[in-house]
Amino acid sequence: MMEDFFEIAGNKYRSRLIVGTGKYKDFAETKRAIEVSGAEIVTVAVRRVNITDPNKENLLDYLDPKKYTILPNTAGCYTAEDAVRTCRLAREAGVGKLVKLEVIGDDRTLFPDVPATIEAAKILVQEGFVVLPYINDDPITAKRLEEIGCAAVMPLAAPIGSGLGIRNPYNIRIILEQAKVPVIVDAGVGTASDAAMAMEMGCHAVLMNTAIAGAKDPILMAEAMRLGIEAGRKAYLAGRIAKKLYATASSPLDGLLI
């Protein structure tokens, strides 16, 4: 098969699975799950150091930034200002210019605040960040963010951590038809078939965290997700048959005994 990859900011990625690093029982498990997932891009959050008990261990001790593309997020930010501030802090850590922009609108759904996301994206693109925004499955929002100069668009499959899978495949399809930047399904994936479905539709990548970290066996699920992504991608490239209402025989009719 020819070489298959997607590109962000000129970098080629062969793995179409992007994984988060939250909710694991410890850093060793995080590291192992990421290795097994085959992911090349991993998301991280920016938080205050606990100054009364500064933990000796740091996430980056387990995730070599030379090996992985580190994608800091703005999770927990409810305003454009906070999101921009978080991105600036992340960039100063020296792991690159990629940011996963999320400006949350409501703590029950964790749906994005679209106007605030657009506002923050404009500032960040101007400041030279490579912006990957988390958005609703809304084609117009995707278009606006692409016009602003975002390097990809990341529509949700379903609410963060819900595991519901792709709730509106039709909107995702419209986003895919329009977009000239990679479309990464971000959030809401529950199991391997959800990831495969996103790939079969032609999405460029899938970003997930809870589906792996929250599984009974996160390492096994990391492998399942890797395989689901690969299977879905190959099915997309192979070109599936059309759906039909009636049967078409698989065995030849010629030479029948009767």
Binding site: V46, I51, P54, L60, A187
Partner: protein, 66 residues
């Protein structure tokens, strides 16, 4: 002098640099980013940036997240 570090009041010796403060807090400079009164302090100037009474500091790092 009094500083506010990550939202907590701290009493520390006058005129400490950012480098000295991180040492006192046993924080490895390579893994953190420091913001002083809402402005990021570049790592290269930790050693010559003297803190002043009433400074508000944020010391952040990467943690697991999705």
């Amino acid at each position: 002098m009094k500083l506010k570090i990550n939202g907590e009041e701290r009493e520390i010796a006058d005129g400490l640099t950012v480098t000295a403060l991180l040492e006192e807090l046993k924080i490895r400079p390579a893994r953190v980013v420091v913001e002083r009164n809402r402005e990021i302090v570049a790592r290269e100037v930790y050693g010559i940036t003297r803190l002043a009474d009433g400074d508000m500091l944020e010391i952040v790092h990467f943690v697991g997240g999705g």
